[in-house]
Symmetry: C2
Subunit: 115 residues, 2 copies
């Protein structure tokens, strides 16, 4: 698969950077980290991206093995997205990222307080 080939043998940082490159990847992983969700629910959690963009981001994450897609043979369709094993392991990164992001926002506020 395309996605795998060019990630092979690279350093962990480059690999991580590549996998996280989509503009919404972190947000999507965060939401799916809370619970498995259907497409529509995920979309409601992320009202700022369009359906086609969400589809593209999900496909990229799926190709890279971070999430899984389960199709129920129903009409109207039901498709559930969840974190894969390696996706679940990514939650540890998310924890640190959230802490750091909070601190970062604080530093911005500090700078704004006394300009």
């Amino acid at each position: 698969m395309e996605a795998e080939k060019d990630l092979f043998g690279k350093c962990p940082y480059m690999t991580a950077q590549k996998v996280l490159s989509g503009k919404w990847s972190i947000m999507i992983l965060y939401h799916l980290g809370k619970k498995t969700m259907r497409f529509g629910e995920l979309q409601r959690q992320l009202p700022d991206l369009t359906q086609s963009t969400l589809t593209k981001q999900l496909r990229a994450l799926e190709e890279n093995g971070l999430i899984e897609r389960k199709i129920y043979p129903q009409v109207p369709p039901k498709v559930e997205y969840s974190l894969s094993d390696i996706g679940i392991k990514f939650k540890k990164v998310l924890v640190e990222l959230a802490i750091w992001g909070g601190e970062y926002i604080e530093t911005l506020k500090d700078k704004a307080d006394r300009p």
Copy 2:
């Protein structure tokens, strides 16, 4: 400053995603996390990006407050790059990212072993 305004009040994940969006940001932060470096040394560590690209990435990181740029009034010029306070705090994220990236690469190898 532009970079600050539109990050304000956002959630930590969105903020983090934005700051890390450059293709080389994580690699640069990793190298500067090891030690303060001059422009040329950094470039030697990252032979895959051109001078102009490196300059752009460094400027973006500086605008976002992650790194600091110290100019020595010399000829030929000497400019040192280092992590800012909030940049240093990012090292905790890097640690988790490296662990996860390593695990991720392993899963790719596993998949390749038995296709």
